[in-house]
């Protein structure tokens, strides 16, 4: 098991290295420069700034310099945000984004699982159809639409929650709801399909033949087997939460990573864009690793083969 994790960590590093390289060169191909928006600077002033940040060096040199810093955990300094180190910007901005992502993923998938479960148990009934409609709407309407509606109804009109910005917990409620619709809908659809299958399987019949109550059959025997495949979709979902949160953070003016990423892109702030991309990539591979380990924890069939490899 320990060897397996080490091996996975090694692959993670390689993945991150490739992502860093690809992003670096792709960014260099982008039109414009960090200074293209700064009309007030004269040509000489621009040249001085470019020189100062090493942007006049050949691209391979810049690349080696960047990767050298990366190994030491140095992501460079931002061009835009007062020369702040990128690591510091990311640190400051990560809190709200992580909180939002976490809250919405957790609550969303929890409600989704319950919806899907009820739909599967009472399939083809009114509850099933209602939950299917919720699920389809939730996964097809983009979350910024919900965000706009929520903001207008509950913040602007009813004034129950703050309209925007980031203060205490109450500031996180509307964006969390907007963000959680997607994982909720996905989980509900997924669990419904899965549980209908599971509840029709032979081992459920065996459980019923033992005289176990229907509640016991669904929760003790059904749910765990129905949950296993959900774990595979939760990973990509978690990532889409991070990227999806960019728009939501903009709408609610939350000083999170997503909001800052969008700003950096419009400013051609290369080091910050790089840093953010790498952070997303890092979170992504970590989540995938966690999910693989979790998979083994829930599904004994995988635990064994994982332990052997």
């Amino acid at each position: 098991m320990f060897r397996y994790i080490l091996q996975r960590l090694f692959y993670m590093l390689i993945t991150l290295f490739i992502i860093a390289t690809v992003t670096f060169f792709m960014m260099k191909m982008l039109p414009g420069s960090p200074l293209s928006a700064e009309d007030k600077l004269s040509e000489e002033q621009k040249a001085i700034v470019l020189e100062k940040y090493g942007l006049n060096d050949p691209v391979p040199v810049q690349y080696l310099r960047y990767m050298g810093g990366l190994v030491k955990g140095d992501l460079g300094v931002s061009f835009a945000f007062d020369n702040t180190p990128v690591t510091k910007i990311l640190m400051d901005r990560m809190g709200p984004s992580l909180q939002l992502g976490f809250q919405s993923l957790l609550i969303g998938s929890f409600i989704g699982i319950i919806l899907g479960l009820i739909a599967a148990v009472f399939r083809n009934g009114a509850i099933d159809y209602t939950s299917t409609i919720i699920a389809v709407l939730g996964s097809s309407i983009p979350n910024f639409v919900f965000a706009g509606i929520l903001q207008y109804v509950f913040a602007v009109r009813l004034e129950w929650f703050p309209v925007a910005l980031w203060g205490g917990f109450e500031y996180s409620i509307l964006p969390t709801i907007a963000l959680m619709i997607f994982p909720m809908a996905t989980a509900a659809r997924f669990i419904r399909t899965e549980m209908v299958d599971v509840l029709n399987s032979n081992f459920i019949l065996t459980a019923r033949a033992k005289g176990i109550s229907e509640v016991g059959v669904v929760f003790k025997h059904g749910l765990r087997n129905g949950l296993i495949p959900l774990i595979t979709v939760i990973g990509p979902m978690a990532v889409s939460m991070m990227t999806g949160s960019m728009v939501i953070e903009q709408i609610f003016a939350i000083p999170g990573i997503g909001e800052q990423f969008v700003t950096s892109v419009t400013l051609n702030d290369y080091p910050t864009i790089m840093g953010t991309t790498l952070l997303f990539a890092f979170l992504f591979v970590v989540i995938i690793l966690i999910i693989d380990l979790l998979y083994g924890l829930i599904d004994p069939r995988i635990r064994v083969s994982g332990g052997n490899s």
Binding site: N202, T206, A207, A209, K210, G211, I212, P300, R301
Partner: protein, 347 residues
């Protein structure tokens, strides 16, 4: 001997998009304490539907009991509530299913799956249930039961899994065990072992057994009596001797004739022509008539009642009517019947 189970005129249908599938159309049989009844018949004849109905496990809402009684120790199971049936299932009546590969929960330890019933029905605490479950694994012939208790189904072979399923069924000493083709999914040598095991256990626990199969070969080995099912009805019932040496129903002849025996290699098998009727629209008269070369005119008009052959032996065919022409089983089937008695004599 006292009656443990009496099934009277049981009719079960399924509501499907295409209409009502009449899977079981008036089944009658009974079972004494400690006795083994084999139910045989082609695929689709309603064997599994009958047994799931006995267990109260018909798929809802499409499966419905149209009429009939299932008297278990004198009480009608058809009238029992969901809660009452939960108390009976796994405790008084237990079931072994056909496919051991999918009959066990893949994410639950085998030990826990056996203990569940014990904890539910016998009010055992976990420690006692664990001890008993380990004993059960030993009883069904699983080596190292202590270790096996903590393993998951995927760590067991097919035959071993079926032993576990049997252990689960036996956990609470059921008065009636229903085995629905328990060996069909297993390879031949394992089949024999599982049959041996079921026979041994049945002798030890003295529970009654309903053994469902479409393989007449195993019937003679296991059963005291045989019920032959066709198109949702029992068409012939009798002791093993009645059915093997003195079969009366042409369908039973067909089953016997199509059964390979040791010296049947050179002679052609007597195959039943055609296929079973569509249970959406069961035919008028005798359902077997279209496939029966001995069919009489009356077969297409009226269903035959159960004619009594002897105290133990009944068959539903107009051939037994006093006015019917005397028809002998086909030669190949007769030879087969003599073959059985020869085999019996050699044992």
């Amino acid at each position: 001997m006292s009656k443990l189970l009496e099934v009277k005129d049981l009719k079960v249908s399924f509501n499907t998009y295409n209409g009502e599938v009449q899977a079981v159309r008036g089944v009658n049989f009974d079972l004494n304490k400690g006795e083994t009844l084999a139910i045989v018949g082609e695929s689709g004849s309603g064997k599994s539907v009958t047994s799931t109905t006995l267990m109260g496990l018909l798929p809802k809402p499409q499966g419905i009991i149209k009429s009939g009684q299932i008297l278990f120790e004198g009480e009608d199971l058809v009238k029992k509530s969901v809660k009452e049936m939960q108390k009976i299932r796994g405790n008084d009546i237990a079931m072994v299913f056909q496919d051991p590969m999918s009959s066990l929960n893949p994410t639950m330890k085998v030990g826990n799956q056996i203990m569940e019933g014990l904890i539910k029905h016998q009010n055992m605490n976990r420690a006692d249930a664990k001890k008993k479950a380990t004993e059960l694994l030993e009883l069904v012939g699983i080596p190292q039961p202590d270790v096996r208790m903590n393993q998951y189904p995927h760590q067991f072979s097919g035959g071993m899994r079926q032993r576990v399923v049997i252990a689960i069924a036996l956990a609470c000493n059921p008065k009636l065990l229903i085995a629905d083709e328990p060996t069909t999914a297993l390879d031949v040598t394992i089949q024999a072992q599982i049959l041996e095991l079921m026979k041994k256990i049945q002798k030890e626990t003295n529970s009654a057994l309903i053994f469902i199969t479409h393989d007449l070969g195993v019937v003679a080995n296991v059963a005291d009596r045989v019920a032959v099912m066709y198109a949702g009805k029992v068409v012939e019932v009798g002791t093993v001797d009645d059915i093997f040496y003195n079969p009366k129903h042409p369908y039973t002849w067909g089953l016997l004739g199509s059964m390979p025996t040791l010296d049947s290699a050179e002679e052609e098998l007597y195959a039943i022509p055609g296929s079973p009727p569509d249970m959406l629209n069961p035919p008028k008269g005798d359902a077997f008539a279209p496939r029966n070369k001995f069919a009489l005119e009356i077969d297409t008009v009226m269903e035959p009642p159960m004619f009594k052959v002897s105290d133990t032996h009944y068959a539903a065919t107009w051939l037994l009517h006093e006015d019917a022409p005397k028809i002998e089983p086909p030669e190949s089937v007769k030879r087969r019947m003599q073959g059985f008695s020869k085999m019996e004599g050699e044992q």
